[in-house]
């Protein structure tokens, strides 16, 4: 009530003041009349009435204070004053605003990505109840959130706490559109999947219509590109893998699901091949009402344990489940989450540095103005008013900085091509929205508080007498504010040190990615995929492969050609079980990768043979099965003995190879681990002519400058069989570059933040020291006059600046083990406690700050006693 009365008076301010003035005039008038009646002269009666009334202006002021929001008036006044003061020092003001803008802008921009990827709910019905279930052994070792089809069936039958258990696997069907063939990525999902997600289709209904044949639900991008956004597409048939498939529905553009960038989805049993089961699936389900995740996981684990009780490899397998959002992010890119967390940490650190920095500069500036403040306090200005005024200066600076920063972030978010940022999950759009705006406001609040409040509270503690007295003498200690300045510099240095160390660690891992010899050479090698699904006979496939290699070898400019199940580089994702004849099969682990290769494969990739022999043309279907293994496999599985002559077999998706005799050992290849490090792969190579794979890669190495290799390969394939679908053609070099791109991008971004932090810290230190030196020039002059050498003064200032820097570095070093534990839990590649990285981080900081300390110190050393003392 009281508040509203005040507010309504505030809005009718003019009227209220007029009323009051009229009332007061009447009072004086009536008093004068009364005095006249009592016999006073008319001339003096009015004066006497006024005298008795008191100071009209002051009384009006007091009345106004009753209802006016005094602090608001004061605040506006303070802000005006702050703006005027800031305008007088444009360089300082610009630097402070730019610093805050950088901090707030970077934090807001990165947060908008964090929000889009990690925080915004998936566009599903009741999204937080959708979970993903996987086999822990699969995920730990391979970074794949998958489980076997048996697991899926067991959960669907047995689980009571989760409902709508559904599965999704992936296949690669070929679309035949009037003779042009292209491969697409498709998911195969169980009938309940779209109901679990609860996303409505943009066209048609994503539900099995009961028909027998192939039915397909297509993505929005497939609909626009391959089906030309045909509005009447529902019910039409398209030719996939030679089967007529009826288009059931078109999903909306925002639909996000597994697999990432899927072009279409089939219902299980209704894909082109009519598959009833898949080797491995991603399992989705919906938590039952009021069921907590932990309880559901316990139930799933019980089902899993009873299913795998008799298994050989059951001991490290267990069911696990988590929120679908987290897992879809993980499926899109296993490193995205950690990348974002690291980046977010870096920008928060940068924001801290920026706010502390501006706070420190303001503090130093107010220490400079201590005398002015002391005089004002002596004249009766309340300390609350002083605090508010200092706060207003900090606010004026940081608010303008924050507004500028938010604008920059908004520009970055709207202008940057996020759609092409490959690591983002499909359907995620980075945009400015309410949570981002709230975050920006919060971040601004932090910046304002840190940069304004610390100097303000310190200013309020200013003691009158010492400042006035010492100011008069020109020997200002300003002990309190200096101590706080030191603390602020120390904190900045510590945070800066941590970010620098993280940068060094990441940069080192990038360097390691760039320079490590991978065991193969990819220069000038062009490759494509070939699918011989229509060749049912293995002998026919082998003939095709031989003919293709002969054709390629004869091409001008081609120095070598080869066929293999895959070509490096690769992420190790197919996990096979290796068994050694004569040893206990239970000791086998799923950690080898097998590859069928043509005889020229190793020569093409320039991989060295260490022992034994390579494959030759005699290693064919009828001959004895043979294998070549990589060095690390030989060393690990055959410790202390020669692998040559041993017999092994590999098992993949419950398909076991024949026993193979090891005839050669080749140098190790490296693959990219999920924490962005190269690691030795354990590889088993088989002769191509003994495995007769249906699908394989073919590659040629051409002399630089020779004709288009991709076209040449394609022509060779078509000349043998023109019904084989077109596949993308790429170079191995570009694949290696792509693998290195994300770690490099991550290191680049964080080094930008580290550099910004370093520059801010260094300039802040310089600014603070500069102000201290300016203040102490008379003192330095006195010292010179009484015999101090210029070197003494140099060290005096250098020590003042250097001490908090060293303290900050020590604090950072002390915090490193704890930080390493935290960062290591989500990002194993970030070894924060690495001594070499810390040393390099510390060295960078020392060098950068030494330069900024040297300048004010040199200025102090050059003080001329005569000029300095005359200034006083």
């Amino acid at each position: 009530m009281r508040f509203w009365r005040r507010l309504s008076m505030l809005f009718q301010r003019r009227r209220v003041e007029q009323d009051l003035a009229e009332e007061m005039r009447l009072h004086v008038h009536l008093r004068a009349k009364q005095l006249e009646r009592d016999g006073a002269a008319p001339a003096s009666s009015h004066r006497e009435a006024q005298r008795r009334f008191g100071n009209v202006l002051s009384l009006q002021d007091q009345s106004r204070d009753v209802w006016l929001f005094r602090w608001l008036e004061d605040l506006l006044q303070d802000l005006r004053f702050a703006l005027r003061t800031s305008a007088r020092r444009p360089a300082f003001t610009a630097a402070a605003i730019a610093t805050i803008a950088l901090g707030v802008g970077a934090a807001t921009a990165v947060f908008s990505v964090v929000d889009a990827v990690l925080l915004r709910p998936l566009p599903y019905r009741d999204p937080h109840r959708v979970i993903v279930i996987w086999d822990r052994a699969q995920r730990d070792r391979e970074g794949q959130t998958v489980a076997s089809f048996e697991d899926f069936e067991a959960y669907r039958r047995g689980a009571e706490l989760v409902r709508d258990v559904s599965a999704a696997g992936l296949i690669r069907p070929t679309l035949n559109d009037r003779g042009t063939r292209r491969k697409y990525l498709a998911g195969v999902v169980s009938a309940a999947t779209f109901d679990v997600l609860g996303t409505a289709a943009a066209l048609g209904t994503a539900r099995l219509s009961g028909g027998e044949g192939c039915a397909v639900v297509v993505s929005h991008s497939f609909w626009t590109t391959a089906l030309f956004a045909d509005a009447a597409v529902i019910g039409r048939s398209i030719d996939l893998d030679g089967t007529a498939c009826v288009v059931q529905a078109v999903m909306p553009g925002s639909f996000r699901f597994y697999p990432k960038r899927a072009d279409m989805w089939f219902f299980l049993g209704h894909d082109p091949a009519g598959r009833q089961r898949l080797p491995y699936v991603v399992i989705f389900a919906r938590l039952g009402p009021h069921v907590r995740l932990a309880r559901a996981v316990a139930e799933l684990q019980a089902i899993h344990a009873s299913l795998h009780a008799g298994d050989d490899h059951g001991k490290d397998r267990a069911a696990d489940a988590d929120d679908a959002q987290r897992e879809l992010t993980y499926l899109a890119s296993s490193t995205l989450r950690s990348t974002l967390v690291v980046l977010f940490g870096a920008v928060v650190a940068l924001l801290c540095i920026a706010s502390l920095n501006v706070g420190g500069l303001l503090l130093a500036r107010f220490a400079h103005r201590q005398r002015e403040l002391a005089v004002r306090m002596a004249l009766g200005c309340g300390s609350g008013r002083i605090i508010r005024q200092i706060l207003a200066e900090g606010m004026a600076l940081s608010l303008s900085g924050a507004v500028l920063g938010t604008c920059l972030a908004a520009a970055a978010v709207t202008c940057l091509p996020w759609d092409h940022a490959g690591e983002l999950p499909e359907g995620v759009t980075v945009s400015l929205n309410v949570p981002v705006a709230i975050f920006a406001v919060l971040v601004t609040g932090v910046a304002v508080l840190v940069s304004g409040l610390v100097p303000a509270l310190n200013g309020a503690r200013a003691d009158l007498r010492p400042s006035l007295a010492s100011a008069a003498r020109g020997l200002v200690g300003a002990g309190g504010s200096l101590r706080i300045s030191r603390w602020m510099i120390m904190t900045q240095v510590a945070v800066s040190f941590v970010v620098l160390t993280a940068t060094v660690v990441l940069a080192d891992s990038v360097l390691h990615l760039e320079t490590t010899s991978l065991g193969f050479r990819t220069e000038n090698i062009t490759t494509t995929h070939v699918d011989l699904a229509k060749y049912a006979d293995s002998q026919a496939r082998i003939q095709f492969q031989d003919a293709l290699l002969r054709k390629l070898q004869g091409l001008p400019g081609v120095t070598s050609s080869a066929i293999g199940s895959f070509f490096p580089p690769y992420r190790e994702d197919a996990m096979e079980h290796l068994e050694i004849r004569g040893s206990d099969p239970r000791h086998g682990v799923y950690d080898v990768l097998s590859c069928a290769v043509s005889p020229g494969y190793f020569d093409s990739l320039e991989t060295r043979l260490l022992r034994g022999r390579l494959f030759n043309d005699h290693d064919r279907l009828g001959a004895a099965p043979v294998a070549i293994v990589s060095e690390s496999l030989a060393n690990e599985y055959f410790p202390g003995r020669d692998a040559l002559g041993e017999e092994i077999r590999v098992e993949q998706f419950s398909r076991t190879s024949r026993w193979m005799n090891i005839v050669g050992v080749v140098a190790d290849w490296k693959h990219l681990e999920w924490d962005a490090r190269w690691a030795d792969s354990r590889l088993v190579f088989q002769p191509l002519a003994q495995s007769a794979d249906v699908a394989f890669d073919v590659a040629i190495r051409a002399r630089p400058g020779s004709a288009d290799s991709g076209r040449a390969i394609r022509r060779a394939i078509v000349s043998l069989d023109d019904s084989i679908p077109n596949e993308t053609i790429h170079t191995l070099d570009s694949e290696v570059a792509e693998m290195r791109a994300y770690p490099r991008f991550r290191a680049l971004v964080i080094s930008f933040f580290a550099l910004a932090g370093l520059v801010i810290t260094a300039t802040g230190l310089q600014g603070t020291l500069h102000q201290i030196v300016s203040r102490r020039i008379p003192e330095f002059g006195l010292r010179r006059a009484t015999g101090a050498q210029s070197g003494d003064l140099f060290w005096l200032v250098a020590k003042q600046g250097g001490a908090p820097v060293l303290a900050g570095i020590l604090a950072g070093v002390a915090a490193a083990p704890a930080l390493a534990r935290v960062s290591g839990s989500f990002f194993p590649g970030l070894r924060m406690a690495d001594p070499a990285a810390m040393a390099l981080g510390a060295l960078t900081l020392v060098l950068a700050t030494a330069c900024t300390i040297a300048f004010p110190a040199w200025r102090a050393a050059r003080v001329d006693p005569v000029t300095a003392l005359r200034e006083e």
Partner: protein, 109 residues
């Protein structure tokens, strides 16, 4: 003119007490009534009545309405609200408590 400082809150109490007896009064009438009521002992700077009136208005103890005096001057008339009456009772009770305590201290032992 030597002037006795008026204790904090006492002016408000006097205004409330004055208005409690009359139906409504304008500023000058209140000033005169306070003067008579306090036997001229409290020689207040007369104008300080007005900030006190504003405080009571904002607090909701008084309400004001513009009217005309007998000499046909435009004047703002104040009257006590129900809340003002309650406030008067509370203030009086408090004042009596405090003054009794002070009496007790000053009474010769």
């Amino acid at each position: 003119m030597s002037r006795d400082e008026i204790p904090h809150g006492l002016l408000e109490l006097l205004i409330l007490r004055t208005l409690a007896r009359a139906k409504q009064m304008h500023g000058f009438e209140i000033a005169e009534a306070v003067r008579t009521l306090s036997d001229d002992v409290l020689r207040v700077e007369e104008g300080s009545l007005y900030p006190a009136l504003q405080r009571l208005l904002v607090g909701g103890a008084l309400e004001a309405k513009w009217g005309h005096t007998e000499e046909n001057h435009r004047a703002r008339y104040y009257r006590l609200t129900a809340k003002g009456r309650r406030q008067l009772d509370q203030e009086l009770a408090r004042y009596r408590r405090v003054s009794a305590a002070i009496e007790g201290v000053l009474r010769p032992a």
